[in-house]
Amino acid sequence: MKGTAAITVHVVLYGSIAEYGGGTHIADLYLKLGEGSLLGDVLTELGIPSEEKGYVFLNSVLCDAPGLNASAGLTLKQGDHVGVFSKDHMWPYQYRDGIRMSDTLREVMQERGAMHHTYGTTPQD
């Protein structure tokens, strides 16, 4: 977490990782972070292990996928909305083909392949 001046971001956790935000299946919370905090700081602040997170959104833009850690370095600003899903949440490629995604995730997917359901957890990946 960077800086001392606080920003507040809206965070929703979906699935089994909701427990890190005090929920059962969904946790909806507002998180105070230091100015200049990064997307990855949300997971750190809540104690969510990287391998347990799946798809991650920042203001409706897809920033990460299960098994990847592509956009943890994006800088957050006051009022941002972050949605984090558990690793088991499915999103077949045909239902995200053309979705808006961060430049950093796009670069990783260009390299690793865009169509996997999960990355790094199967014998072929």
Partner: protein, 584 residues
């Protein structure tokens, strides 16, 4: 024993068993329904007239012992909704029982001159034509109760009042293992095609049937085990994985976060309270209320088990099941976030015999047309009652989105080829938009399941992240899906077989093992393309042109919040998807 075709002629009430002709011998499931429709149905016929047919065909491996998640059954005919060829498939109990009776397909044709309604009882000894007078006018829950009492442990295929009225949004109900009629071959109005044969219900009793012959038991066993291992290993399909824990409604929050959840008749991609209608919310209600379940299987032998049983506040069963498409069409797309309403409306669709995607979209059109306000759940239930009663308004609503839009002067009409779009906004998910626009089925989210690009034959040739590549990818996905729709396997095996090569190999080996067909993974796309070609040619003969392969006009003109995007894929890309049909 070689499989047979059971041909049931409702004009003379005769049932005959025929050897499977050579031209159809290698097909099953969608491949077989589309082959028979292509060969036997005049593409220009009226879907409700005497020249249309309803074809029912289980997949290649359906009914074979221990093939995982393989209970799918295809229903085919000319669609009253689209005017083109239709294959709509369902889980439930019928596919395995039809296959175990040694039947490759059932062809239902003709119409009784006296327009009396029948229940067909299919056993190993033949077909009995019973009067359905006592069932006429009843919804599917009453029909199922009556049929279970009379024919326990059978499969039930039936139509509700919508099918009797031959409404274009009438689906075909199939019972699940608890004899609940909530599984549907919903899309395209095939319930009206069944109704036009004056068949209210079909009972399938496989007692004493010959079972499914396995041509190469060793190959089949090797294949099914590899596929089962892949399903059990993969994060999405394993026990307690995403599908098992939350059902298909696990997608609600994801699509909403992405700005791609069609909301209030496709006017936005985000619904503020969508989470209340999600798989996570369904699971929470099941846990708190008791009496329901997640991880319910729609047919014996399913190891994914993505279905659910939703209880009311007192723990009594309300409905099985609430799926992603249902909770979206009746929920976000109508501006409604009440799960209990969604459960009640789902049950209405199941009972009346309506496709819940088209049904929910129709309510949204009625809301846009000023018949009621967005968010008015009580008003929506009244509209379903209008359909059930067959009032003039109900008959308009029962014709689906396009007819309702015309009746109420609505411009924003989210259809392709007369069929309304499922729960993925094509302006935000442009790849699915290419499939919606070009599939022979009309807008259909199950027409293009992803397969690994190297298997699809496009590896290295196209960039999946570019707009230019979306046409080639859509074709590859559509071809692969046509193949999987023919196997009898649930489409959700597509997830593990994409990521785990042994699973893909196992799927193909199990098909080769059951059928004796000498096929490998290299044959998947070519065989799928053969099916697609028949379907496209049928549609062309029915009068379809390139103009029918387009998303609706408003999607080019209106920007979709929150990303403020419109449809930008060129017509040339769309026309290129099936350009090969006349070139090959």
């Amino acid at each position: 024993m070689a499989k047979k075709i059971l041909r049931i002629n409702m004009s003379n009430l005769k049932a005959t068993y025929e050897a499977v002709p050579e031209k159809w011998a290698r097909w099953a499931g969608r491949g077989l329904t589309s082959s028979i429709v292509f060969d036997e149905v005049d593409p220009t016929c009226h879907p409700l007239g005497p020249n249309n047919k309803l074809v029912i065909a289980p997949g290649w491996v359906t009914g074979s012992p221990a093939a995982p998640s393989s209970g799918r059954c295809s229903f085919g005919g000319k669609s009253p909704l689209t005017g083109g060829i239709k294959e709509s498939n369902s889980g439930g109990m019928c596919g395995q029982k039809i296959a175990k009776l040694g039947l490759a397909a059932i062809i239902l044709e003709g119409q009784p001159a006296d327009k009396k309604w029948y229940t067909l009882v299919i056993t190993k000894d033949g077909v009995a034509f019973e009067s359905a007078d006592k069932l006429v006018g009843k919804g599917m829950y009453d029909v199922a109760a009556a049929m279970e009492a009379k024919y326990p442990k059978t499969a039930l295929i039936g139509i509700g009042q919508a099918g009797e009225m031959k409404l274009s949004n009438a689906g075909i109900s199939v019972n699940d293992p608890e004899y609940s009629p909530g599984r549907y071959a919903g899309r395209g109005g095939l319930g009206a095609v069944m109704g036009a044969r004056y068949v209210k219900a079909i009972i399938v009793d496989d007692s004493g049937g010959p079972g499914v012959e396995i041509a190469d038991k060793e190959l089949f066993t090797k294949g099914r085990k590899a596929l089962a291992a892949a399903i059990s290993e993969h994060a999405l399909t394993k026990k307690d994985g995403g599908l098992n824990a939350y059902g298909t409604a696990v997608l609600v929050n994801i699509l909403n976060e992405a700005g791609a959840l069609p909301t209030r008749n496709f006017s936005s991609g985000h619904f503020d309270t969508a989470a209340k209608t999600s798989g996570e919310a369904i699971a929470e209600a099941v846990e708190k209320r008791g009496g329901g379940m997640m991880g319910h299987g729609c047919h014996p032998g399913c190891i994914i088990q993505c279905s659910n049983i939703f209880p009311d506040e007192d723990g009594n069963v309300l409905v099985s099941k609430i799926e992603y498409e249902t909770t979206w069409s009746l929920g976000a797309n109508c501006g409604i976030d009440d799960l209990d309403y969604i459960a009640a409306a789902t049950k209405e669709c199941n009972d009346i015999g309506l496709d819940s995607i088209e049904g929910g979209n129709t309510i949204a059109i009625a809301m846009e047309g000023g018949l009621l306000e967005f968010g008015d759940s009580k008003g929506a239930l009244k509209l379903f009652d209008e359909i059930r009663k067959g009032t003039p308004l109900g008959r308009i609503l029962g014709q689906g989105v396009e007819a309702t839009a015309k009746a109420f002067g609505v411009y924003r009409v989210p259809t392709v080829k007369g069929q309304s779009m499922p729960a993925y906004e094509p302006r935000a998910v442009k790849g699915i938009g290419v499939t919606y626009a070009t599939t022979p089925m009309g807008a259909d989210h199950t027409a293009g399941y992803t397969i690994a690009p190297e298997i699809a034959g496009v590896g290295g040739k196209v960039d999946p992240l570019s707009d230019e590549g979306k046409g080639d990818l859509s074709l590859a996905f559509q071809a692969t899906t046509a193949f999987i729709d023919s196997t009898g396997y649930c489409l959700f095996i597509a997830f593990p077989i994409l990521d785990i090569a042994e699973g893909f190999g196992g799927m193909v080996e199990s098909v080769a093992g059951v059928t004796g067909l000498k096929i490998t993974g290299d044959d998947v796309v070519p065989l799928g393309k053969e099916i697609l070609k028949m379907e496209r040619l049928f549609n062309e003969s029915a009068g379809f042109t390139a103009a029918d392969d387009r998303p609706p006009e408003f999607m080019r003109d209106e920007m979709l919040p929150p990303h403020n995007v419109n449809w930008t894929i060129s017509d040339e890309v769309l026309d290129g998807v099936f350009g090969w049909v006349h070139a090959d």
